[in-house]
């Protein structure tokens, strides 16, 4: 397969190690900064059980990229809102440890100090283009840091599952819905 990982020949073991250490340090920084500064609010945004206002710009940039091709441009705003609702509800049922990991992931994505170096998106998510988001996802999928590869897998699962559990999603995939009992 085409090898797009960081494990390319020009990258020495030493520089790989550096990326690894830096990444880990940055992840730690995000958690710590978030805790100390209260920069990522710990209270849910209005109308949500779990999602905080600091999580929303990233998710609003991510979801249309994920649903592209399955949802028309006109339907997209409602689809984003619906997906956020479903996502919020599934987060509200996660075990505390799994929720903690997810919240840390959202912190890393929201805080400028970690977002830039780890995602390659240096401005705010509000201004990120679809290509920026796709680029970031590709980068994480092929990262040398297993935490980022795990983050990539979680984002895909969370969003796709949230959308396709909704009735509005079913026409696209030819699912008539459950039978009547």
């Amino acid at each position: 397969m085409n090898d797009t990982t960081l494990d390319a020949p020009q990258l020495s073991r030493r520089s790989l190690l550096k990326v690894g250490l830096m990444g880990t340090a940055l992840l730690g920084t995000a958690g710590l900064t978030a805790t100390l500064s209260g920069c990522s609010a710990s209270t849910p945004a209005g109308g949500y059980l779990i999602l905080r206002s600091s999580d929303l710009p990233f998710l609003r940039a991510l979801i249309p990229v994920m649903l592209d091709g399955a949802v028309s441009a006109e339907q997209m705003p409602q689809a984003i809102d619906g997906t956020l609702k479903s996502l919020d509800s599934s987060l509200a049922h996660l075990s505390p440890e799994m929720l903690k990991l997810t919240v840390q992931l959202f912190d890393v994505l929201a805080l400028p100090i970690t977002r830039g170096p780890l995602t390659g998106v240096w401005g705010s998510w509000d201004n990120a283009s679809g290509d920026d988001v796709r680029q970031f996802l590709k980068r994480w999928q092929n990262s040398s840091l297993s935490l980022l590869r795990m983050g990539h897998a979680s984002l895909l699962q969370l969003v796709m599952m949230a959308w396709y559990s909704r009735q509005e999603a079913w026409a696209h995939c030819g699912y008539p819905g459950p039978p009547t009992v």
Binding site: A92, H93, S146, R166, C173, P178, V181
Partner: protein, 530 residues
């Protein structure tokens, strides 16, 4: 025509239940036997002990949901009926682990496949793991008894098109296939077994052994987490339970103290070893949580010209064991082939990718078949092995380290599944891996699969069969309990669930748990009388 909700009817007859989320005060409950977990092992044990005249208390962490609640909606079913709100994964987040968490345990959400423990597996346990007295002949009556109790019979209705792929493909290639026995009575052939049976056709513990236990004066405590066993000397003297909120996420602060003569753990793989670890139960040889196996699963998707509608119809009705023992019991990693049901939310995550690519794949859902391989782990020293650990908050997590031996099994399973799907007439096949798309010929598939970088996260892996972690066996240096489920160190503690198995089973495990625990519970009832 509305389906009567059998459990609700029972409640109006005066069954004794406690909702741990709604306690106003701490509670103390007493019983002859306290059973932690209400799935296959707990339910079976409860029915047998209560029929023998003992007062049984069943303790379940999850909620009580009954047929009226089962709306066949993924959005409701997964977060409410599965462990960790369906967030359970291996420690590295690379393997999704599906286990039930509600009254009835995994039997509430499994796909009803019911196989006896294969003779090769029983023989291997006797030979390699010091398991005594569970050979084919002595197990047969226990399997037969539970098959009758739970209506287990080969599925008599034609398989849905998703399952049919196994028959067509295997027939073409001269591979073995057979009909799956299912534990159903009057099944409507709907296809939503994984979300709770809305017609009470599935003979889960919710509609069989638990009602029988409650009829016999047993009690049920739900939304209560068994937090710690209390130990004095070589005896368990109580269980500290935490009332859980209605979503089963956080403790409410109310406690339930349970006292009994004998204690049976039946929380399943991961949770039972987790409770032992949390309770610091004596474990001189560090065996608790070791040798946990998953029937690690990989998947292959195929698109067909004809309509498959893989979301409808009995989810699993055909299987192939052609490769299960192809290199003996302890050779290369082998597998059983089956299919999963494909409702859209779970399927969207399985099919991988996002945006247009995922949309194209999802658009073809009505024409899509997915096959899965259950890798028979635990029989070879080089096989991946899971180990249960505790996280910071005391909750258990499974560290499952992949090995080259195991990846080799994954690759061969990808090859075999693609071969069968093409033989069945698929126009395109896709191994479920981040670097794979649909390919049009068997030759292309072979080339693709042989080169795939089989790595964590790139390969989509799952498990619905956690087994082991509290292995049974006569040697205390190797096993946590003896062959009758009696704890090697503590007197009045038994384990009756899938965590007993020293290896994986090589078949969907529910009937293995029913058969073994019915035997263990019957013998326990005799010992308690003595």
């Amino acid at each position: 025509m509305p389906v009567p909700d059998l459990f609700k009817q029972g409640l109006t007859k005066g069954w004794k239940t406690y909702d741990g989320s709604r306690l106003e005060n701490d509670l103390t409950l007493e019983a002859d036997v306290a059973i932690v977990g209400s799935g296959a092992g707990g339910g079976t044990t409860a029915e047998i002990l209560s029929a023998a005249g003992y007062k049984v208390l069943l303790i379940e962490e999850g909620p009580l949901k009954t047929s009226d609640d089962f709306k066949m909606q993924e959005a409701e079913a997964y977060p409410n009926l599965y462990q960790e709100g369906i967030g359970r994964m291996s420690k590295d987040g690379a393997i999704t682990i599906l286990q039930g968490r509600a009254v009835g345990g995994t039997t509430l959400v499994n796909w009803t496949s019911s196989f006896r423990t294969p003779p090769q597996t029983l023989a291997h346990w006797a030979e390699a793991h010091g398991v005594k007295g569970h050979d084919v002949a002595s197990m047969a009556p226990w399997f037969e008894k539970m098959e009758q109790r739970l209506g287990v019979a080969p599925w008599a209705i034609p398989p849905n098109a998703n399952n049919e792929v196994i028959r067509t493909g295997c027939d073409k290639l001269g591979y073995h296939w057979a009909v799956i026995p299912r534990n159903v009575r009057g099944c409507w052939n709907l296809g939503y077994c994984g979300m709770g049976c809305p017609t009470n056709a599935k003979q889960s513990m919710l509609v069989t052994t638990i009602p029988a236990t409650l009829d016999a004066g047993g009690e049920l405590l739900y939304l209560a987490r068994a937090d710690k066993l209390l130990i004095e000397g070589d005896k368990v003297v109580g269980i500290d339970c935490l009332g859980m909120d209605a979503r089963c996420v956080a403790p409410t602060g109310k406690r339930i103290r349970v006292k009994a003569r004998h204690y049976v753990l039946a929380g399943g793989g991961i949770n039972t070893p987790g409770l032992l670890l949390r309770s610091a139960v004596p474990d001189p040889h560090k065996r608790v949580g070791r040798r946990t196996y998953l029937h690690l699963v990989n998947f292959s998707a195929a698109q067909f010209e004809q309509v498959i509608n893989p979301f409808y119809g009995a989810p699993q009705s055909l299987y192939s064991d052609h490769f299960q023992w192809d290199d003996g019991t302890t050779g290369r990693l082998s597998f059983k082939l089956e299919v999963p049901p494909l409702q859209p939310a779970l399927t969207a995550t399985l099919l991988g990718e996002f945006g247009r690519e995922n949309a194209l794949r999802m658009e073809q859902l009505p024409h899509t078949n997915v096959m899965l391989a259950l890798l028979r782990d635990g029989f070879h020293p080089d096989c991946a092995e899971g180990r249960v650990e505790l996280r910071g908050d005391g909750s258990p997590v499974l560290d499952y380290q992949m090995t080259d031996y195991t990846w080799d099994g994954v690759r061969r399973a990808f090859l075999t599944m693609a071969e069968i799907q093409f033989a069945a007439g698929a126009k395109a096949v896709m191994p479920m891996h981040a670097d794979a798309g649909y390919v049009r010929t068997w030759k292309e598939a072979k080339e693709l699969i042989e080169q795939l970088d089989l790595a964590l996260y790139r390969t989509r892996l799952g498990s619905a069969h956690v087994m082991g972690g509290c292995a049974m066996g006569e040697d205390p240096q190797q096993a946590v309990v003896d062959s009758l489920g009696r704890h090697h160190q503590l007197d009045n503690l038994s384990i009756h669930d899938g965590s007993l198995f020293p290896t994986s089973i090589g078949a969907n495990p529910q009937l293995s748990i029913y058969g073994l625990t019915s035997k263990l519970a019957t013998l326990l009832a005799e010992r308690l009388r003595a």
